[in-house]
């Protein structure tokens, strides 16, 4: 992977752009397994990802900002995943959602022949969200974490303990 920065790089501009990026994270329509259902539930009425402007699921990797790896990575899907990640326009981020994407989850055993133990063996991961499957709130928390990573500030600051 060849990384070239922007042609013009100004600190303040970068800050500003990152602020905009953090508030408009468009995920890719890419559901793998069980966690994809929870991902769908997150976009649905009760949890409503749209509040953070992140409900614009784009099916084409060219137009989205981050990929939610929601499920087990088998050896057959790994090259597909890599291709899709490559085809995303930078800046791009990856959110490993669920134990399978983090480490293979419950599908790792001695003598297994088909599961890649963690998506970070293929592509760089920015945020890990554990759980099997993680609850929708966890996905929202993961997105907030990604925003924090971009802006350096947390959106809903955790209130200080008063007692």
């Amino acid at each position: 992977m060849e990384v070239r920065g922007p042609r013009i790089k100004i600190g303040l501009l970068e800050e500003f752009l990152n602020l905009a990026r953090a508030n408009s994270l468009w995920p890719m329509t890419f559901g793998l397994a069980c966690c994809a259902i929870e991902m769908m539930a997150t976009t649905a009425a009760r949890f409503d990802l749209a509040r953070f402007g992140a409900e614009v699921f784009r099916p084409s990797p060219r137009q989205c900002d981050f990929m939610i790896v929601s499920g087990t990575i088998t050896k057959k899907i790994a090259p597909v995943l890599k291709t899709l990640y490559d085809q995303m326009a930078s800046p791009k981020w990856v959110l490993a959602y669920g134990n399978c994407a983090i480490s293979g989850g419950p599908f790792v055993f001695e003598g297994q022949y088909n599961v890649i133990e963690g998506v970070d063996k293929i592509i760089p991961v920015d945020v890990y969200v554990p759980g099997c499957p993680p609850r929708p709130e966890a996905l929202i928390e993961g997105i907030l974490k990604l925003q924090e990573k971009l802006t350096g500030v947390r959106r809903f600051p955790i209130p200080e303990k008063k007692w």
Partner: protein, 367 residues
């Protein structure tokens, strides 16, 4: 300074910085660059004694500014409104956290898209691929020239306004097809194919439904048509209005006629391979086309800027946005039609109906 910003941002409201920054920069840009430029140019024009041309020049400059504000403002508003309307219809809130009740969401999206890498796949047909997003943007601006927002609020009243609009809107399918073909992508190609046959199929009923309007008003200028409406033409031409509106929905590729970008079949349709700002231009063109289609419906059938009490342009925008809202309502209610159903609906039903409408109008007018 950044630290200071961060503190504000953390302590007060998350998006306050965004408000200040985006509004501030745009206001600064307007104040420091555009307005003095216009002033200088206009002054120069007058001083040179080119009164005849000078007036037009001033009109042109003001027109450019006005049209740009309408085009970009409309897209920003529509993106927000659409997401909010979708939210209301779907038991949820929609954008909320970015800015006060999510108002800054579309601005933030635009800024983000500005900072996104522009990718060009290796195998594309380069000239077509690069020209397509430019060309799709062109009819949006040109059509704005002849739209009368108010009695005097019009860039230029061209006496063949309708023909001009029809001619330039024919560029849209061409550029969509250029995008589809140039991308060398199979989904994009299928999307482009679909798009072009859809747009030509609905072009005809659209034109046929406009001819009675021309008959009744006896002019091709848009302002003339508005002025000719003692009562809105929708009362005289209800079928014509319906045909026009259905065709307009189809021409702008909105659900239930959004086949060229049908997500469940063709991924993202003709703009599958476009990223960042190139994709944004397609988006912008789509929303501007929606606005133009509804604005034209307002002008032709709903009496344009005419209305009691309120100033004309307010009426114009109220009527237009009402129609746009109906389009959104369609979008979040109906499933997508199938492709052959879509084409045959036009050829077998709408076109004969539009012809019948024309004949009946012709007869009634003569009697």
């Amino acid at each position: 300074m950044i630290k200071w910003f961060k503190r504000i941002y953390q302590e007060y409201f998350y998006s306050d910085l965004l408000v200040v920054f985006s509004l501030g920069t745009s206001a600064l840009f307007l104040l420091l660059v555009i307005l003095p430029l216009i002033y200088l140019l206009a002054k120069g024009a007058f001083e040179l004694g080119l009164n005849y041309w000078g007036k037009d020049f001033l009109r042109l400059l003001l027109g450019i500014v006005g049209v740009l504000i309408v085009v970009f403002g409309n897209a920003l508003i529509l993106v927000y409104v659409e997401r909010k309307v979708a939210g209301w219809m779907q038991l949820r809130i929609g954008p909320k956290e970015v800015g006060p009740s999510g108002l800054l969401q579309s601005i933030v999206d635009a800024i983000k898209l500005l900072g996104k890498q522009l990718l060009r796949p290796r195998h594309v047909d380069r000239p077509l691929y690069l020209l397509a997003p430019l060309l799709i943007f062109l009819p949006c601006l040109v059509t704005m020239v002849v739209i009368p927002f108010d009695h005097d609020l019009q860039v230029r009243d061209i006496n063949v306004g309708i023909v001009l609009i029809l001619a330039f809107s024919a560029l849209t399918p061409i550029s969509i097809f250029m995008a589809g073909w140039g991308s060398a992508n199979k989904y994009a190609l299928l999307g482009g194919m679909r798009s072009i046959s859809q747009q030509i199929a609905y072009e005809i009923p659209m034109v046929l439904s406009l001819i009675p309007v021309v008959m009744l008003s006896g002019t091709l200028s848009l302002k003339g048509i508005v002025e000719a409406q003692k009562i809105p033409f929708v009362c005289l031409q209800p079928i014509g209005f319906l045909i026009y509106f259905i065709s307009a929905v189809a021409e702008t590729n909105r659900t239930p006629f959004d086949l060229p970008e049908a997500e469940s079949e063709l991924v993202a349709g003709y703009h599958t391979e476009y990223s960042g700002m190139r994709f944004a231009l397609f988006f912008l063109a789509e929303y501007t086309n929606v606005f133009i289609a509804c604005a034209l419906a307002t002008i032709f059938f709903l009496g344009g800027y005419k209305g009691p009490l309120l100033p004309g342009w307010v009426w114009f925008f109220i009527k237009t946005y009402l129609l746009i809202f109906i389009m959104m309502w369609f979008r979040w209610t109906f499933p997508r039609v199938r492709f052959d159903q879509l084409l045959n609906f036009s050829w077998n039903f709408l076109i004969p109906l539009a012809m019948l409408n024309l004949v009946v109008t012709g007869m009634l007018v003569k009697i």
